[in-house]
Symmetry: C2
Subunit: 755 residues, 2 copies
């Protein structure tokens, strides 16, 4: 299969038309007879004790059907992404962040439910909130959770950093911070629970991990998981954010639906989405890097502190991910990274595209630039000197024989660096060019099981239905899966339909995270399609009365290898196969090679592959206003194999914009534990007019672990774009910014000082 007919082509997004024409049905479009609406009452104080909740007045309002508080829940009232499960659906006593829901009102209309919330009398005794990691880690700090204020802490040890620093000619140190970022998906969280008339409950939900939701909803409804069907509706973005939130409102809507025997929808407003549900971890990161004069990095020691807010959510994953990636795409003998997430009385932090990698990459790449300056070495050459190659040992001492295309990404941006790096400042404008590299592990690896189920079902008319346990959230997986099935089966892409995920039809495939859709999901689709292909080839060989090896499937036909005009339409082959009893459907499991990992030192085989990338940003800074314009943005990534150039470029553009916004615009601002900018009127995030001129250059160093060699690309650009922006602006302004976002105000402030 050296030549592909569909893989590698810019096939149009298969669900694009229904999306742009408005035909696609989002959860808010789903209406069922007798449907009711829920609205959550939120605590309003960052820490406190619920003394009482009196809903009697609210219940008197016309159209109000029910008020749920913790005591009304049917199950253990406990959720979480992975241990420690520490989050109540509704707290029965202690409030841990201001946006926390404490009651649900269910009414005929959403407005009615919201209005009734005001008539609930919640008596809450405030307690002193813990608002910083410093406060949280103070020796005598109040414990936000019984086990203390450290959510999760791990240390990675490769070699011996003391020895590494001893070997160094230069040792530099730096401290970096990042802030909370909201996901800002256009569609806020929403769930609709429907008692489905067969003694089951169906949950239509905007989400990314249907099976995770099923498990938690069933447990908290106190029914077997098999009684809950989760259907992922069209999802208007998620970026990691709809894991926990969908579970919360799924349980609340499900509980109300079960108790009332009627469909119940809960739809968040923007304010609830920002203040109530998870955000990207803020971080405080300390780096110490040692190098020889020739640029060889001998050691890196890193301390990462992640502010996880009130609950664990995905803090353990993010903590590990930050730890593993902190030393960057470099072959360094001595590494020590201590990574810790901490509870505070703020909105909990969870998964967000990049998953801990953007924070450490910003810090690491800033420090690499600083090291280059110290050593007087060109920043790109310094990276090239230390960059990982096939055969090198990663931070976890894993060795990849192939698909380590990092150095080529440096090569790819080099011409732009040489071209823009010489641009001189003029009176009003400062120019700067920065590069930054990223390494990002693909799929769950040692963080969890890596099984994906996918089904491929061919009908007698040779049209194909693909199901996969991973969710389409805009990343284009339905298109990629269509291409893979079409490639394997030799049919046009538009004969393939990838259906929406529901938990009934496929194996629990884990969450749609960690850039794993194309790689692990695509592998499952490929396997399933290949099994169906066997039935077709077998049937065609019977019809042609020849050997199976003489048959190829292409263009919707079974064709003889020796005579391209000898063709049988695949619909005839499929019909014959069906009637002959050759199965035309297969449910496949792709399981990533299991990790082999020491959870003390964090050494071993951790991910099936890494995506490597280098970004270049060339910026123009207005000396008077601090305004920044990105004049050039080159993003080069080793993706193994590009399945769909248009879609892959789209992923790079989208992720880069989030990275750019992380580097330049977005921050959740707190005052006394209350978010000050929970609406799009106050929270700055990029609109279409803030798009940066991303130019993508793909490197293709195929991995045996992905379909046709492909590796994920959904997340890595976030980190590289944010870091490249920081390096570019720092160079332009002549000042090392150690905090992101580096806003226009920050830049103006520095420039003002200089004046």
């Amino acid at each position: 299969m050296a030549e592909h007919t569909i893989i590698g082509k810019s096939v149009r997004k298969v669900d694009g038309i229904e999306l742009v024409t408005g035909k696609a049905k989002f959860t808010a479009d789903m209406k069922f007879p007798g449907m009711l609406y829920g609205y959550e009452l939120r605590a309003g104080v960052p820490a406190g004790i619920i003394e009482s909740i009196d809903a009697s007045e609210a219940l008197k309002e016309p159209g109000v059907h029910m008020v749920l508080t913790a005591k009304d829940l049917l199950g253990p009232n406990l959720i979480g992404v992975l241990p420690p499960f520490d989050q109540p659906v509704l707290p029965d006593r202690e409030i841990r962040y201001a946006g926390e829901s404490i009651a649900l009102v269910v009414a005929d209309t959403r407005e009615g439910a919201k209005r009734a919330c005001r008539n609930i009398k919640a008596v809450i005794t405030p307690i002193e909130p813990i608002l910083t990691m410093e406060q949280a880690l103070a020796e005598d700090a109040r414990k936000i959770h019984p086990q203390g204020n450290v959510t999760f802490s791990r240390t990675l040890t490769k070699g011996n950093v003391e020895q590494g620093f001893a070997e160094a000619d230069v040792v530099i140190e730096g401290s970096y911070t990042t802030t909370f970022q909201d996901h800002c998906y256009i569609e806020p969280e929403i769930a609709c629970a429907v008692p489905s008339g067969d003694n089951r409950i169906t949950l239509y939900v905007s989400c990314q991990s249907p099976f995770h939701i099923r498990g938690h909803v069933a447990a908290n409804l106190n029914v077997p998981a098999s009684k809950v069907k989760v259907v992922q509706a069209y999802t208007g973005g998620s970026f990691g954010g709809k894991d926990d939130a969908a579970v919360e409102i799924g349980i609340l809507a499900g509980t109300a639906a079960l108790k009332l025997g009627r469909p119940v929808t809960i739809a968040h407003e923007r304010e609830e989405s920002i203040a109530g549900t998870n955000v990207r971890h803020a971080a405080e990161i300390a780096y110490k890097t040692g190098a020889r004069k020739d640029g060889t990095i001998t050691a890196r020691q890193v301390k990462v502190l992640l502010d996880g807010g009130a609950y664990a959510s995905e803090s353990p994953f993010v903590t590990m991910k930050a730890m593993i990636h902190a030393s960057g795409p470099y072959a360094i003998d001595h590494i020590e990274v201590e990574s810790t997430s901490v509870y505070t009385n703020k909105t909990y932090a969870g998964a967000f595209r990049g998953f801990g990698v953007p924070q450490v990459t910003f810090a690491s790449e800033s420090e690499i630039d600083e090291l280059a300056k110290h050593l007087g070495i060109d920043p790109l050459e310094l990276r090239r000197k230390n960059g990982l190659k096939a055969g090198d040992k990663t931070a976890t001492s894993q060795v990849y024989d192939q698909s380590v295309g990092y150095l080529q990404t440096l090569d790819a941006v080099e011409p732009s660096l040489r071209e823009t790096g010489t641009k001189e400042n003029d009176g009003r404008y400062l120019y700067g060019t920065g590069i930054a590299s990223v390494i990002q592990g693909i799929s769950n690896g040692a963080e969890g099981v890596d099984v994906v189920g996918a089904s491929v079902q061919m009908s007698q008319d040779a049209s194909v239905l693909v199901g996969c346990g991973l969710a389409e959230m805009g990343q284009g997986s339905r298109t990629v899966f269509s291409q893979i099935a079409a490639e394997v089966l030799g049919i046009p892409v538009d004969w393939v339909t990838v259906r929406q995920v529901d938990t009934d039809a496929v194996h629990d495939s884990g969450p749609t995270v960690a850039s794993r859709s194309t790689t692990v999901g695509g592998m499952a689709v490929k396997q399933a399609a290949e099994t169906v292909r066997q039935s077709l080839v077998k049937m065609a060989s019977l019809m042609f009365k020849t050997d199976e090896s003489m048959i190829v499937l292409k263009e919707g036909f079974a064709v003889l290898t020796v005579d391209d005009t000898a063709r049988i339409p695949l619909r005839d082959v499929a019909t014959a196969a069906y009637w002959t009893g050759f199965p035309l459907m297969h449910l496949a499991f792709s399981q990533a090679e299991p990790a082999d990992f020491d959870h003390d030192t964090h050494q071993g085989r951790v991910y099936i592959a890494y995506n490597f990338g280098t970004h270049l940003m060339h910026v123009k800074v207005d000396r008077y206003t601090g305004e920044v314009e990105v004049l050039k943005h080159v993003a080069s990534h080793d993706v193994g194999k590009v399945v769909n150039p248009m879609a892959a470029s789209g992923q790079v553009e989208g992720a880069s914009l989030i990275g750019f916004a992380l580097g330049h615009m977005e921050k959740v601002e707190y005052k006394d534990g209350i978010i000050q900018n929970p609406t799009f009127a106050d929270y700055a995030f990029p609109s279409i007019r803030d798009r940066i001129p991303t130019e993508t250059i793909f490197v293709e160093d195929p991995t045996p672990h992905g379909p046709y060699g492909a590796k994920g690309i959904g997340e890595p650009p976030v980190a590289a774009a944010a870091a490249a922006f920081a390096n570019a602006v720092s160079q332009a302004v002549g000042h090392r910014f150690t905090h992101i976002p580096i806003t226009r105000e920050d830049i103006a402030a520095v420039l003002q000082e200089e004046v």
Copy 2:
């Protein structure tokens, strides 16, 4: 697996509670925003030419959205169960039966659509209808279809009947007729088509062959099959009747929904169900049977004519089935059966529980009783003498080594025969006892492919979701599948949920017909569960650190064979298996052993197994009124293995009641090609008060082709009950009735003559 914990137990119907509490959602319960309703205009003449259809007035009525006629359809306007596909969705020119739909009105309400129908001006030129098989087969008959008036005709030849008759001491002949019978399910046909917002169409439908519907709907909507999802809603009975009808209204509703972009429901009234959709074939059957004095049957020659009405529908299947079963459960060396179905201008005939077997069984068993009388041999002894045993050759010369429990069913009814057979008539009441035997092939056999797909998915909480491509229509397959999955996985039955069928999630499993659910469907569920079981046993062996052979799964635990107290809850095993990457879901295919059949002589391996049965009916006939009371009904069947005694007995009771009604009550009455009794006011069928006192005696001679040895039982009692009734009444009255139904009026008429 000699001992079963769940198989063989009278587990309560798993969907019984939602059904009896009214929670189960039937198609009519489904409401969607903007839903419209369709109503069909019917021809009203049994044969004619459509000159024009003018809907302009109807379209002016408020609330009317659309009138569809043949020219508005999107696809080939052609349906059918199997070749010849000869039926239009809406005829564009020729009308072939009075109940045929010629237009669809779509309006805001059903009533509005029905009202508007009256304002459609259809100009139809009537043509002389062909109303009897004799007319249809006349040499110069008008051709109802281009290929002529013979729908399907086949001859089975075993041995040489001439020789057989030459060897006989006695040859008797008889002619028998049966009439059309309506399915009389409580829920008439209904379909609801919903444009599902993902560029697909979802069809909720009361049906029994979702994949068959999907194929026809997609073809006639001119979309790939993968764009259509058929969901079998709770189905209020089908008995074979909802195959064609669901296709017709599915296409009509789907076409309207696609064109209007809104959900459309079509729900039949009873009159439409009886006059518009398929019925059981009426038959004219001639038998010639030769025997030696000792009772050995030497030859049977049979001619079967089946009135199939206007379209082929399942006539070919029914024709074959009648042919193969016509000679009864007897080892006869010389058999010739000619079986022919014929077109007439009447409502088309299709599948109906029993599928051709009741008609021939009534005739055959009547003739066996007549032969016994001629020979002076006890009817039971005559059957015993000729009855098939393991190793004998069937009518198709197939030899079964096992699961031929026919003679035991004779043994089972013998005590009742000896007890009731001596009852003497008194002044007013005549008493009679009749027995009749049946042989009925299980599953599709040579009539089609016999693949069933089933999925078993265990969640981390060890609850199980089962999916199967076969439909639950009341026969209890969800209960049987639950038992099989629970037995294999060692869990309580209530941990298992069998979900409703939809075409997205499983392999095309063919129609739910031919008593194949338990046998072929159950085999698929068993296989799927066994694969999941392997993951659990493997995981448990790792947890116990022992051999897999040391593990049993029972009562929801993994247990050590050597120590019953060493137990790990299966939810812990399942969770561990999931996180270890052992698949917990499997999609299995059970494929029946392929037939090996000569389609000229109809000799060879035709079915995977046969169900054998003998019924006894003891009746009391009122000499003055003709009223019959069934005093005793014993039904004995070899079902291989009883999976659920309560459910299996329920199947026998239900099927026997349909057989009793066929023998005694039901007939579709025509006058000039128009059905005279298309409502329940005029069409007599059994109510709960007509239940007969069925006593079931199961024989268990297991088949290797069914799960735990089980064979289907859904259909065979129909034939045996009808035939036993006829024999009992004939004996009581002292008159051989050669036509069913033998109504009270028929009996009274005979008795009156005698007076």
